[in-house]
Amino acid sequence: MAILLECKEISKTFGGIEALTHVNLTVEANSLTGVIGPNGAGKTTLFNIISGALLPTSGEVLFKGKKISGMGPARVCRLGIARTYQLVRPFNSLSAIENVLIGLGFGRTTSLSKDNRVAEAIKILQFVGLGDKINHVAEGLTLVEKKHLEIARALATEPEILLLDEVVSGLNPTEVTQIIETIRQIQAGGITIIMIEHILKVVMALCERVVVLNYGVQIAEGTPKEVVSDEAVIEAYIGKFEDTEGNPDA
């Protein structure tokens, strides 16, 4: 399969803190990659660098073989990389449909007429299950609705790669199942997904490949099964195995 996104030797320092050290990531078209790791491992920093919000200290990001680091977030978005935020950041005083219309108006397909954009926005909102909330102000939506709205806004830019930053955090099990279903459908629609996730159930259910970061260093990579039995990963998550009571599932 074709390689869509490549992160080459990405390093990022904030003052004296090394948030990322020589991270390499290769993402194939239409795959679903998971990025996991303990808190502060640099997962969100990696997303910020891919989406152009931050510049890497060294290394580069290639999208379809073309260098995108340094382009700025707006241009990266127009090339086809969209994201959601870990702590939801919808445009609060705008209605759900207007949130989506921002994505439609300024993402990759800007040539649509206004009526077509509105029709398309309603379609996307129905897809994520917000069909009856199109005129609700984003501020008044519940957390799960806001998360769906963020996905809708990202989909509206017609991305080739969708970056999902902990979409299921803070949701109850029913809502988690809903979002997993939505993510499956998005991937089935031909969109490549990279997701940061803490909840292993979700990672195991969805991801084809998993990259594990710890203190900014890539410590493992492989299928979810391989990764969870990797010793370095277990050590990063629960510390060193010292007695036989340890839980190998953790």
Binding site: A53, A74, F91, S95, E98, T157
Partner: protein, 326 residues
């Protein structure tokens, strides 16, 4: 807006236009001067609101464009240009100035942006006091004399009306939607493809145009200005107070605020001169504390405004069911 509201609204607008047009002919001369100034302040407040309300950048230096427009018009009129050429010159100069300062200014946000823009006024004021050959220095500048009250009254009303139309179309456009998204969260707006630097600059240029025009008309009518009269605190702050008192980010807000303030000021002026200046400061503090949404968002006025169909701050996607005043 429901149908009854719409009918009522258009009727009211028509009636207002007729009354305003007829006023000079029924011997209401003091009222004309008063409405002239009201329209000047209202236009400033409304054009301020494009940057200050729609986009959420508090531009305390909005009166710089007014002053630039006034001085440019005065200088061009003295050079023998006719009024419209002079106004065009003022418009272009103010727009060029906005374009130039937008780049450094919009690297700042929040209070830093407000302070930096406030500094612009002093910058231009110092320039006008010192470029004596061009501007007459601190003594001010006079334009060819004549009684222009009547034409300038109509002209300023036309500019005020034009600004309302401009503001309405900006709010309904994709560009306006982008400005609202910048107000809500600029980083996210950029991450979703909004060309923020370009749009912020454009918004400043658009908001500079009406301000420079009313500046030009003002000097044509008054025939004399000094640095103090066009770069003073009153002209700098009162439009912003009007916009904030009425409610920012919604077209009806500056209108309500401008009428309210000018009426109150009129009463105060006859009782205690200059007391209104102290009032501005007090109002600004109280507004921030108790009524950040402005008059149009208060419990008593909001339902009425919504019934009129003017409650839709964001107008990109119209829908009757939407409760829009945030």
């Amino acid at each position: 807006m429901n149908r009854r509201g719409k009918k009522f609204f258009y009727l009211a607008v028509l009636l207002l236009c007729a009354v305003l047009a007829a006023l000079p002919w029924i011997g209401f001369s003091y009222g004309i001067v008063w409405i002239f100034l009201l329209a000047v302040y209202f236009t400033l407040a409304l054009s301020y609101d494009i940057v200050g309300g729609y986009m959420g950048y508090m531009n305390l230096g909005h009166s710089t464009f007014f002053g630039l427009g006034a001085y440019t018009t005065a200088i061009l009129l003295n050079q023998g240009f006719n009024l419209f050429a002079a106004l065009l010159g003022a418009l272009l100069l103010a727009a060029a100035f906005a374009a130039v300062v937008s780049y450094p200014l919009f690297r700042l946000r929040g209070a830093y942006f407000a302070l930096a823009t406030f500094g612009l006024i002093s910058l231009i004021e110092v320039l006008t006091t010192n470029l004596r050959d061009l501007t007459g220095g601190s003594g001010g500048i006079s334009t060819p004399p004549g009684n222009h009250m009547l034409p300038s009254y109509y002209l300023v009303l036309a500019v005020a009306g034009g600004t309302m139309v401009l503001s309405h179309f900006v709010a309904r456009s994709k560009f306006g939607l982008a400005l609202f998204s910048i107000r809500e969260d600029e980083e996210v707006a950029a991450a979703f493809g909004v060309p923020t630097t370009l749009y912020k600059g454009l918004a400043l240029i658009i908001s500079s145009a009406p301000a420079s025009l009313v500046g030009g008309i003002y000097v044509w009518n008054m025939t004399y200005i000094s640095p103090n009269s066009v770069f003073g605190l009153e002209i700098a702050l009162s439009p912003i107070i009007m916009a904030m008192l009425g409610g920012t980010g919604i077209m009806i807000g500056p209108l309500v605020g401008a009428i309210f303030i000018t009426v109150v000021q009129e009463f105060l002026w006859t009782k205690v001169p200059y007391f209104h200046l102290a009032m501005y400061g007090t109002v600004l503090v109280l507004l921030g504390l108790f009524m950040p949404g402005g008059l149009v968002r208060t419990r008593f006025i909001k339902p009425f405004i919504q019934w009129l169909g003017l409650g839709e701050a964001v107008d990109y996607f119209k829908n009757a069911d939407a409760e829009r005043i945030p």
